[in-house]
Symmetry: C2
Subunit: 227 residues, 2 copies
């Protein structure tokens, strides 16, 4: 269950050049199917058979493309981490807190909406104790949080927002936005909908932005249009 070094899988090795259309399509299909199955059942609970069926390919073919179950899983996690890392990559103390926080909430919400399966895959991994992501959490992601936490602190010092613990605030935003992907089944069951519409998502985003910004004492243009 640790990550270790890739054991030189037989197939699927840097065929970026000699790629056919079929290969690309199959690979895409497998990744999409695997994301669904892993998200739904977790690493152990997912079976290559189920993934193959959803991808419309024989199991052997999946292994031919991906080498191993573990390799496939790691690849999916890495793809999700890339999407994640692209979030809010360049902010500085000079930026407007209201704008940045709203952009954060909005982009995080969109990430959950655009990639619900990937979001759930990530959630399942963390839920299981993050066996494959320990290193990432204690390294990259920790630095990411620290850097943004310092900016939030400086905003507080300048009186642009309340002096709240920045890390708890970041967690609050993460959890609130992630919720609508990870707990989709619950949200839909309780609200009695088949799916969340774009309008729903926009409404929720507005709600979260308003409550969280106001809750942290961030001066938002919406609240003080003439100030």
């Amino acid at each position: 269950m640790t990550q270790g070094s890739a054991p030189a899988e037989r197939g699927a090795r840097e065929q970026g050049e000699a790629n056919g259309v079929t290969r690309q399509r199959n690979e895409r299909e497998i990744l999409a199917a695997a994301e669904r199955v892993f998200a739904r059942h977790g690493y152990r609970g997912a079976s290559l058979q189920a993934i193959a069926e959803q991808a419309g390919l024989p199991k052997s073919n999946v292994l031919y493309y991906m080498g191993s179950k573990r390799g496939l899983y790691v690849r999916l996690l890495e793809r999700m981490m890339e999407r994640w890392n692209a979030l809010l990559d360049d902010i500085s103390v000079e930026d407007d807190p209201a704008e940045v926080l709203e952009a954060f909430i909005r982009s995080k919400m969109q990430l959950s909406r655009r990639h619900p399966e990937g979001s759930r895959l990530f959630a399942a991994e963390i839920l299981g104790g993050a066996p494959f992501l320990q290193e990432y959490l204690r390294g990259e992601l920790r630095d990411w949080v620290e850097a943004r936490a310092r900016i939030l602190e400086q905003w507080a010092e300048r009186g642009l927002m309340d002096p709240v613990e920045p890390v708890w605030l970041i967690f609050l935003i993460w959890s609130a936005t992630q919720h609508y992907a990870d707990f989709e089944a619950q949200v839909l069951g309780i609200t009695g909908r088949d799916a969340l519409s774009d309008a729903d998502v926009e409404e929720i985003t507005t709600f979260l932005t308003r409550v969280i910004l106001k809750g942290c004492g961030v001066r938002s243009r919406a609240d003080t249009p003439a100030g």
Copy 2:
């Protein structure tokens, strides 16, 4: 994967009377072990072998007590739902919004802290599309939410808080509190701790209460001690 009616399992049937000490202890041990394993790996990913090992019993004995994997799982879910249902069971429009909301956040936080495995078990179930809990979500829980939503609306009408969409607010509180159980691995990895102390939990609870109450325009005694 649907719930259906229990198929009259062979063993473990209303032995509430003729119970020995051993039975009680074994049952408790099995349930605790199963909760851990199901929480970590989900329903499909969990194995009776692993549960039996963690409970210090042979696999056959686990089946003797619990009848089947499915039965064991459902029993755990029901136990968790009972704990959940006990939350905030009696509130009325006459109550003080600040007090009620703080009590909600605090008790939900304590539930996640006291039963982290159960909390993660529930999360895994929802993550997988809630195959066993559809009925509960669309029935009991939905009513629970509706009832509280109406009270929140009335508070807003009376000007005791901002007119926010109550359901989104309830989801916000759920997600923010649940986060510290479900994403514990992430929280610990990022904050660099081995575990969250009581003091940490108290600090987080205070933070959440302050931000959310302020964010919804609820007048809290902490903010206006002389008002």
